[in-house]
Amino acid sequence: MEKEIGIFLCNCGGGIKNIDFDAVREKLVQISDVAFVAVSSALCLEEGKGTIVSTIKDKGVEKVVIAACSPEFTEHTFGEVLEKAGLNRHLLAMANVREQCAWAHQGDVTKKAIQLIKMAVNRARLLQPVQKKELPINKDVLVIGGGFSGLNIALQLSRLGLRATVLEKEAVLGARLGEAESFSSCDMGPMISEVESDDNIEVLTSAQLVRIEGNVGNFSVRIQKAGEEIPRKYGAIVVATGYRTQLMASSEPDSGGKILSQAELCRMLAAQSLEKQPRTVGFIFDFADENSRFPTLATLDNALAAKEKWDSEVYVFCKSVKVDSKGAEKLYREARARGIVFLKCETPPKVLAKNGRVEIQAQDILMGEDTVFACDVLVAEQQILPAEDADILSSLLNVGRDSKGFYQDENVHLYPVALERKGIFVVGGCRGDLDGGRVLSDISSAVMSIYELLSPGKIVVDSEKVKANPQKCVACLTCFRVCPHSAIQLMRAENEKEVAQVADAACDACGICAAICPAKAISFEGYTDEQIVAQIEALGTS
């Protein structure tokens, strides 16, 4: 048998004490296709790497097994070393004899180490090279939504030299911001004019996305504007479609303009003169969702403004006021100090219209009594909901939403702005109930991720690491349905039937398709069925 496998053992500079490396070596050299077993004390240092390169070149092995620390730390490094030695980086199998063997057990673990290395040798035997390839990409960015987040992102990308198209479904930019919910929110005017005069930014109003194809770096989209479909190409897409608010149903639906939303109150506050200034103002919030950031901040802010501007009596009916926004505690304390009364109740108070005023019946938990207040105006509780067309857009983009309908559940692996489909980012209010600080950090994260992705002008991907065999594929579309990254497309193989094809750029190499394919047409190099089973075959033999 040809001696094609070289094994390197590392004792981690003496950090692995309970493995007898000489015994391991003796056992391993007996494997028929192992060319050599080299023991070193620090493979990851420059000297060790040099030894690996020279030994591989010297002995002319084709596959390499390294038994050392966890591949989580060093697989990448050793892959580079293999490339230096003229081997493909995927022809490396690692055995984790440090974290998951020597350090995890007491006493001598030589036997376990031998078995782990044998498992790696079995896998190495079946490994095939995977080539890298470069794909040219488009450096333009599509920003869906012309609100605060969308405009901010477009401006920041423009400063970095990337062109952006802002897609706004309304006729003007920042349409929703006219109805600000928080009295001291920023003025969008200067930002809008800056966007409109920026040469790198194209603004398409009254327009919407109708079709999207392709993958990260090369999305082809169709935009509908004034009855026409405009085809465009982009490298990345940002979803910044914001949120909407809805008044929670109160017991009395209408009482002659006495029950308001935050935005309506803001308009009253901004008005130069009012017929009659409200002497008592009530707020209800906190009952629908205890950690609602935006309603909490808007309530505190508007309550302070009402106190300041009208010198009204302000009563806030709330549950517990616990919110994790920066500065919220300070606002709350300030509100208390200025004489705003917070009444904490377990259940939402009852609202009734009476004599041209609003009566609020609440059970104060501190006094344990039913209390009745009459207010001139009441700001009812508002819920933060995803934008109306979130379901249409998410199905167009083929990305998931959380239980409330916002984009991207707080998945720790994607957090904060990435979506499961590569090259699509999600920012701001469409991602959930966020406060201003979080929106700003979202914007920065997205700008950084996009710049990192697009600025080189190309992306380097593994070529055909996950591959569907056109002969075996029966186009049942199972893989197409299950792929979480939208990486599988249907292609017509040369004048033949349609078959599944994995897009290298979009693939995140999870192997879900390989496991689910009923025809076993999809192979995932590095983790093929044979390579996984080969590791199992090494069990029970030592």
Partner: protein
């Protein structure tokens, strides 16, 4: 040497958790053999059955926490397949309880060790009864 326990570990969660267990000096049964996979969803019924064919004591599939899978649905798919494998094992008269799916996060070495301790104890108890 006692029979092995095969643990298919997702490289985004259980595998780093196992590394962390080793680094933190936590101890667990020596007969555990960890096979690194890119996602628990890569595991197919055949892999589980092959392991039993090889005579292992138990097969564990360890993936990301529910709702926090790196590949969104990988852990759910793995769960379904483990259930299916369990059904097949029962059908041929084997102990279906010897294949199990667990969810854990990459920073949960204690949970990793707890899972293995539980499984080892269960196997030891069952062996005693025989």
């Amino acid at each position: 040497m006692s029979k092995e326990i095969v643990a298919f570990c997702c490289q985004h969660s259980a595998y780093p958790a196992a590394d962390l267990a080793g680094k933190s000096g936590l101890r667990y049964a020596e007969n555990v053999r960890i096979i690194r996979v890119p996602c628990a969803g890569r595991i197919d019924v055949i892999h589980i059955l092959k392991a039993f064919e090889k005579g292992v004591a138990a097969v564990l599939v360890l993936g990301c926490e529910e709702g926090a899978c790196h590949h969104i649905t990988g852990n759910d798919r793995a769960k379904e397949r483990v259930k299916y494998a369990e059904m097949l094992l029962k059908e041929v008269g084997a102990d279906g309880g010897r294949v199990k799916m667990y969810n854990l996060s990459p920073n949960a070495p204690h949970k990793f060790v707890k899972i293995l301790d539980e499984v080892s104890k269960k196997i030891a108890d069952e062996e005693k009864q025989k």
